[in-house]
């Protein structure tokens, strides 16, 4: 029917009404003005009339919605326990999903908060593996000089600045950045100014060394005061002037990190005059970013860069390249530059956490699915209980669509309320999780605020959730609410046809729970295997002091003696059992991996020499004599280093057992000769192996113990080796090693008050080194338990409901002489069968999915059978328990009472 809507022509109708009245008034003898005035008065408020009339129609849909919502609220209020369990479940499920998504959003999706981020590209050398490649200064210099291909290029490097002028460090996050940095990114200053090439001069620009601070630091340190501009601040004892503040949303060029200070790259020479990376030919430390012009495509930019490449490579060839051989030179010259899009910034954090986070995202999605299934079965039970109400409504002419809509409104309302609470959870949850990622050595900063994308995600998840748990029960309820339900006396004597769907829901729920419990088991066991791993050293009593001598006016060659004097001062302290200095400490970050050659096997039939390249498979350390005792690493053969192993004496080395096993076939290594940096002018030889120590973890508890050699730090006299910093490890006699901090600081200050000291307890470092595994274990454990709880509740609910529906049948059976045990057995048999099927399917899925956890699981295989069996057992126990409790109640039915009710 194309009937016109009653509202059409309303305007004309009102006008006609007033005209008619006016005409009648004129006929009564009024003037036309008077007639019209009275007509208008009599009609009343025209605009209001129009509005009220329209409202009659506009409110129909809204009215029904309001009605539905009010009705839904009422019906939820009648079942407070069901409602709160459902809302809480949904809040947790949706909240967890939102939290993880907002982290993924911050880490992967959000564009950098800069001008036209899509034009930014990162200069790297491998398109396939876009890692955060860093370059040395000469290459950057060449890139800058050939930068006419690009609109702009910039480079930066992260650094921690020390605000204190000696003694314990007060570290802030910083960036060296080229003068083009702010212009290239298009980041303005909100107060003061940014800096430019003018400021990026050796020794500082016209205003001397300048610094730009972040909004966060401005607020924290200066309370956002405008007079922060112009203030002087000492970074590593060099005075800088603050000239500007960056916008609040600018966290820097790398996702996952943030900064307090940005200073011009050229001031690096002021801060570390004798160790400057800018002045060095070969220190790779700069990230380089370029902005393409608007008409430039990525491919054409790459092509242009490649044409400039031979020249850039030629000019930046290392001075000692000739010794490395022609092949190495050619490899260097031909190694291509590449550009990768950097709209979302680039991030080491992303590389590390992308896969774990995606796994967690899948885990929380599965938990939400379990929650949906759970609520769906509750709804199903509820819908059957409401069948009478629904059939009455259908019988008196309610439309099926209207009823379906009513039921879906109820679902949506439930998930909407859940999502609202979930958003609150998510805000806390994502902030909590990112805080967990931060350790004492690296601060993780991620913008996880809830933006449009996160909100859209949450709304979509909420809608989907409501459909998932609401549709099937709603359709079934409306279908079942047909007239025969009226005839039925509200009680069933036989199993209902809805059993199929309920069974399916039970199987799905238990299956998902199996997968989640397996994941929890794997990550938990993996973390435990790392945490309780035999490290090979005793970390508990050790305080590690990072001593930085860069700001001390001492010749680099005099630094080791300075460190030794500091060591002697600390060894005098009461409460210190042992102490030693070293170039590297276990799990302290960094590794020392020069090439090594082993010679000295004179026996016939053996290779005279083995060369081990500097590929990171063999690790070295430079230590003082009591280092092994400080760390509790036992000597297996030969002797320890002594104070006589100094410059001028025979060079000596100690290797670990793994070194002997890996390269000498288990032969006694003592007496063999090694050479460091073989075939280069700085080759260090001959070094005689004088001892063997037990294996100990080097970089990380995750990695197997590498073949390791140790040299006396006092004998390591390669020209130009900076020793700009060292690590002093102190073993406390008793109590927490942190308690030694003040005494150690005073002792070192008495040797030289300018040395910058950073204190870290080794147990804390170990703790921090396992952050990722701990977090995965906690998250998987939490969500695994949640799924288990939900599955248990769901099974309990379904069994209890089924049994309550079959009370009459059970009563009849018992009246006819069935033993309670048999009745219970029947109830349990079915649920056991379902759980059995689900466990088998779940185990299969877990086996398949385990491939995605490869590389994240340590100390066991991702298909660990014990974990699988354990998970199956846990589910079986929970399932049978959840079935047994209501089943036991069934046996207590009093047949007489039940049958009388009928």
């Amino acid at each position: 029917m194309t009937r016109r809507h009653p509202l059409d022509g309303l305007e004309r109708e009102i006008r006609a009404h007033i005209e008619r009245e006016t005409e009648e008034n004129v006929e009564r003898g009024m003037t036309s003005a008077e007639a019209r005035r009275l007509a208008l008065i009599k009609f009343g408020n025209v605009a209001l009339t129009r509005e009220d009339t329209r409202a009659v129609w506009a409110s129909r849909w809204l009215d029904q919605l309001r009605q539905d919502v009010r009705f839904a609220f009422r019906s939820y209020a009648r079942t407070p326990v069901f409602t709160s369990v459902a809302v809480l479940t949904l809040a947790l499920g949706i909240g967890a999903n939102t939290a993880i998504f907002s982290i993924l959003n911050g880490l992967l999706l959000r564009p950098l908060p800069v001008r036209e981020p899509a034009q930014l590209v990162l200069v790297t050398d491998d398109e396939a593996a876009p890692r955060a490649r860093v370059w040395n200064f000469p290459i950057w210099d060449q890139l800058r000089q050939t930068s006419q291909h690009f609109e702009a290029v910039a480079a930066w490097s992260f650094i921690r600045f020390n605000l204190s002028s000696g003694g314990e460090t007060q570290l802030v996050e910083g960036l060296w950045a080229t003068g083009s940095f702010f212009e290239t990114l298009g980041v303005p200053a909100i107060v003061g100014r940014t800096f430019s090439d003018l400021d990026d001069q050796r020794g500082g620009g016209p205003d001397g060394p300048v610094a730009v601070i972040s909004y966060g630091y401005w607020q924290r340190q200066y309370g956002g005061a405008a007079d922060a501009i112009g203030r002087a601040v000492q970074l590593n004892t060099v005075p800088f002037t603050i000239v500007g503040v960056t916008p609040s949303d600018f966290f820097g060029p790398e996702v996952g990190r943030t900064f307090d200070f940005i200073v011009p790259l050229a001031t690096e020479r002021l801060i570390r005059p004798s160790d400057s990376a800018v002045d060095s030919c070969c220190t790779n430390f700069l990230s380089v970013i370029a902005r393409l012009t608007t008409e430039q495509s990525l491919d054409s930019a790459v092509a242009r860069l490649r044409t400039a490449q031979p020249e850039i490579r030629e000019v930046t060839l290392r001075p000692w390249a000739a010794e490395a051989g022609q092949a190495a030179i050619d490899r260097y010259l031909e190694s291509p530059f590449a550009l990768v899009p950097a709209a979302n910034g680039f991030s080491n954090l992303r590389l590390r956490y992308e896969r774990p986070l995606l796994i967690v995202a899948v885990v929380v999605a599965l938990v939400l699915l379990v929650a949906c299934v759970n609520i769906a079965s509750l709804f199903l039970a509820r819908a059957v209980a409401r069948r009478h109400e629904l059939s009455v409504r259908l019988a008196v002419g309610g439309s099926r669509w209207r009823l379906t809509r009513q039921l879906l409104t109820e679902s949506l309302l439930l998930s909407g309320v859940g999502a609202g609470i979930g958003l609150l959870f998510a805000g806390y949850g994502s902030a909590f999780l990112t805080r967990q990622l931060s350790t004492s050595t690296s601060t993780v900063f991620l913008d996880v605020s809830i933006d449009g994308r996160v909100l859209a995600f949450t709304v979509a998840v909420t809608g989907l959730t409501a459909l998932l748990f609401g549709t099937a029960p709603a359709l079934r309820a409306v279908r079942a609410g047909s007239t025969d339900a009226l005839k039925e006396h509200g009680r069933a004597t036989t199993e209902q046809a809805h059993g199929g769907l309920t069974d399916l829901l039970v199987v799905v729920q238990v299956t998902l729970s199996v997968v989640l419990v397996v994941a929890a088991g794997l990550f938990g066991r993996s973390f435990a295997s790392l945490k309780y791993r035999e490290l090979g050293f005793q970390p508990d009593q050790i305080l590690v002091v990072y001593i930085d001598a860069q700001t001390v006016m001492v010749e680099p060659s005099q630094r080791v003696p300075l460190y030794e004097r500091a060591l002697d001062a600390v060894l005098e302290l009461p409460g210190v059992t042992e102490a030693a200095i070293s170039h590297v400490t276990p799990v302290g970050g960094g590794g020392f991996t020069p090439a090594v050659e082993i010679t000295g096997d004179q026996r016939p039939g053996r290779e005279a020499s083995i060369t081990l390249p500097a590929n990171g498979e063999v690790f070295g350390n430079l230590i003082s004599p009591r280092w092994f005792r400080t760390f509790g690493i036992p000597l297996v053969a030969g002797r320890h280093f002594t104070d006589r192993d100094r410059r001028g004496a025979q060079r000596v080395a100690i290797v670990n057992e793994m070194f002997a096993r890996s390269f000498l076939g288990g032969d006694n290594p003592i007496g063999r000769i090694i050479t460091l940096y073989p075939n280069t002018p700085r080759a260090l030889s001959p070094i005689e192996i004088v001892g063997v120590v037990a294996d100990a973890v080097y970089t990380s508890a995750r990695d197997p113990v590498p073949p390791t050699w140790y040299l006396p730090i006092a004998q390591f006299d390669i020209p130009g080796f900076p020793f700009s910093a060292t690590r002093l490890s102190v073993q406390a006699t008793a109590g927490s090693p942190v308690l030694l901090t003040d005494r150690v600081e005073t002792a070192i200050a008495s040797v030289n008050p300018q040395l910058a000291l950073t204190f870290r307890a080794l147990p804390d470092q170990l703790h921090a080194s396992l952050t990722q595994e701990r977090l995965m274990a906690q998250l998987a454990g939490f969500f695994g338990s949640l799924a288990l709880l939900l599955a248990g509740l769901g099974l309990y609910g379904v069994t209890a409901y089924t049994i309550s529906r079959r009370r009459t049948e059970i009563a009849i059976r018992m009246a006819l002489g069935a033993a309670p045990r048999a009745v219970m057995g029947r109830a349990l048999a079915r649920i056991s069968l379902l759980i059995g099927v689900a466990i088998v399917v779940g185990a299969g899925i877990s086996l398949w999915a385990s491939r995605f956890a490869a590389g994240l699981i340590h100390g066991l295989t991702p298909r660990d059978p014990a974990t699988l069996v354990g998970a199956a057992l846990v589910l079986a126990v929970v399932g049978v328990l959840a079935g047994w409790l209501p089943a036991r109640r069934a046996t207590r039915i009093d047949p007489v009472a039940v049958l009388r009710e009928g």
Binding site: R4, P6, L7, G9, L10, R12, E13, I14, A16, H17, R20, E21, K42, F43, G44, N45, V46, L48, T49, D52, T53, A55, V56, W57, R60
Partner: protein, 111 residues
């Protein structure tokens, strides 16, 4: 004009009056207002604007409907008329109304 004071319409009674008026035949808005006023001897005051939301409410409930047509001086107008459902409703409403007035009368003048 009447000397008696005019009475404001009770909530909902306007619907009844409209149905009653339309029982006599189709009419446009102005005519309905006039009829209500005239047949009540000008006692009942209809703020004429409020007629329109009421008419639309009745259309929505399916008690009345309308046709487009030309009025006395060839104006285009909507003529409202009762539907069969509206006719039934009028009986219901009238009965309800009579019950109500009888009850109120008994309260005011107990026998």
């Amino acid at each position: 004009m009447s000397k008696e004071p005019r009475i404001d319409l009770l909530q909902g009674t306007l619907d009844l009056l409209i149905l009653r008026t339309l029982q006599l035949g189709a009419a446009h808005g102005h005519a309905i207002a006039k009829a209500i006023q005239r047949t009540s001897d000008d006692v009942l005051l209809v703020e004429e604007g409020s007629l329109y939301p009421a008419l639309h409410r009745l259309i929505k409930r399916g008690w009345i409907t309308f046709d487009e047509g030309a009025s006395e001086n060839n104006r285009r107008a909507k003529f409202y008329r009762l539907t069969p459902k509206g006719r039934k409703q009028l009986v219901v409403e009238t009965t309800k109304w009579e019950k109500l007035t009888r009850a109120i009368a008994r309260v005011l003048r107990p026998a």
